[in-house]
Symmetry: C2
DNA sequence: CGATCAGTTGAGAATGGTCAAATTCGGTGG
DNA sequence: CCACCGAATTTGACCATTCTCAACTGATCG
């Protein structure tokens, strides 16, 4: 499935060489098209947001909580995490954005960033300034609706995460979280039903799931020993998809829309 | 402070009698104006969303998870809650919207509602259909940006809530949650620094904070005995504001913007 | 080949949950 | 006005999930 990504990247390169070919296969364009039928103007305007290409090394903090005038980014390749730190040094990871997602969209809509964003692996992004996005909205107003929809989708994921933390046991949480991550990765061709590559450490999982790293380790061992799923050496293997679904009480309604809502 | 609400309501009535006077003091209009400087057309278009007035009794479920073609609502008066149910009958409350907030905005952006919304007290709302809001965006495109900002603000609150559940102890959670609720209510004139009216039961708090009702009771007793805050008979009294802030490590950056960002 | 970082495991402690039973309180009907 | 009802709150006793601390393994890297 990773072929799709390669195709996407390839079209991007072609687009740079020949501006007439639209980079429709950029993961963000594809995602937004699922909600709003985009005109050529819309797509061109959107493609202009992909201009300022940047590369960051693993561990680089691209947005810092409290920072003013932060940029946002569109993730093309690699893994990132958005998180908040507490005064006592604890960290709560909000989300691991996947390619096609915005990084720090809220930080350009607010005067100061309310969260931090860090590269988990080396990543490739486009930088988006406040003026870029506001200009884009005024040239192609339907993009604002499309981005609103993308933000609503992000919110739905955060809400699922909230339910994880509030009302699921450690095991259910882990199963649900990894299953949802897999579903999102599948949409961009980075996972299939059997599993996916996952560069996250057990510390990442701990800080995302509100657990201690020690307990994450124990939960993963339990899930592995029960033949449910295996998280090892950067690979997630969904050993028993049916039982994971059952354990996680998983529901993907908000992920698949089945055709644009706004024509 | 509740005078402001009365003035707002009063202007609304005038607006109905004399369409030339804009209901600028509707809490939603006021909130959006804090981010986007709205033109007369913008405000008129927005005001058209307030047309379909509805009243619901306490306990009425206005949006049900899984429902297709659900409406959204704008809350004018009363308390509501948005939540998700788990298969085992547990409930996780996502948010208690306050006047000026959307109820179920995601449920009209998605084909099926990903959460439920219920009236906690008797409430007064405006019903907003999918077509209403999409029409509004096409006549007054800046409204889409404004609503995107409002959605981002909602998301920031949910993120704070996520941090509550993931990385704060029961006491910190309670303090943070009530302080944040108070701050939001202050913005619509329903609270001051000393406290606010709060019709929520301890079961509501338990389901919002990921605790059991029994433990909520114990935590509230502890906070009361320590002279920090009192939650009793529908009143929240912030006995020692400084210590609550300290306990909650509270930060309201995302709530106050200090003037429109988009002119 | 030490150093460092991720992962692993055990033992004991703590936060918060469950179950069960009072108690208070705001209605509501007599 | 009073008795009563149901819902919300309160408290105690016991339990379990998860945390903390501490030690150890294994891989990777300059």
């Amino acid at each position: 499935m990773s072929l799709i990504i390669c195709i996407g990247e390839h079209l991007m390169s072609i687009a740079y060489e020949n501006p007439r070919i639209l980079p429709v296969e950029s993961p963000l364009t594809r995602k937004l098209s699922a909600f709003v039928a985009l005109s050529d103007t819309d797509e061109e305007t959107l493609a202009r947001l992909y201009r300022r290409r940047r590369t960051f090394q693993a561990g680089h903090e691209m947005i810092h909580e409290g920072q003013t005038k932060a940029s946002a980014f569109i993730l093309f390749d690699g893994w990132a995490s958005s998180y908040k730190m507490l005064p006592d040094g604890e960290r709560q990871i909000i989300d691991f954005p996947v390619p096609g997602d915005f990084l720090g969209l809220r930080s350009i809509l607010f005067r100061t960033a309310d969260h931090s964003v860090e590269a988990v692996t080396d990543i490739e992004v486009s930088e988006v300034l406040e003026s870029d996005i506001l200009d884009a909205f005024s040239t192609a107003p339907r993009l604002a609706t499309a981005v609103l929809w993308a933000a609503a989708r992000d919110e739905a994921m955060i809400v699922e995460h909230l339910v994880d933390l509030g009302r699921r046991t450690a095991e259910e949480r882990m199963a649900h979280f990894l299953l949802e991550l897999g579903a999102r990765l599948q949409l961009v061709g980075m996972a299939d039903k059997t599993g996916f590559e996952c560069p996250l450490t057990q510390y990442h999982l701990a800080d995302a799931l509100g657990l201690s790293a020690v307990h994450v380790n124990r939960v993963l061992r339990k899930l592995r020993e029960d033949g449910i799923l295996t998280f090892q050496k950067g690979h997630v293997i969904l050993d028993d998809f049916a039982r994971i679904r059952e354990l996680a009480a998983f529901d993907t309604t908000y992920l698949d829309q089945g055709g644009p809502l706004l024509r």
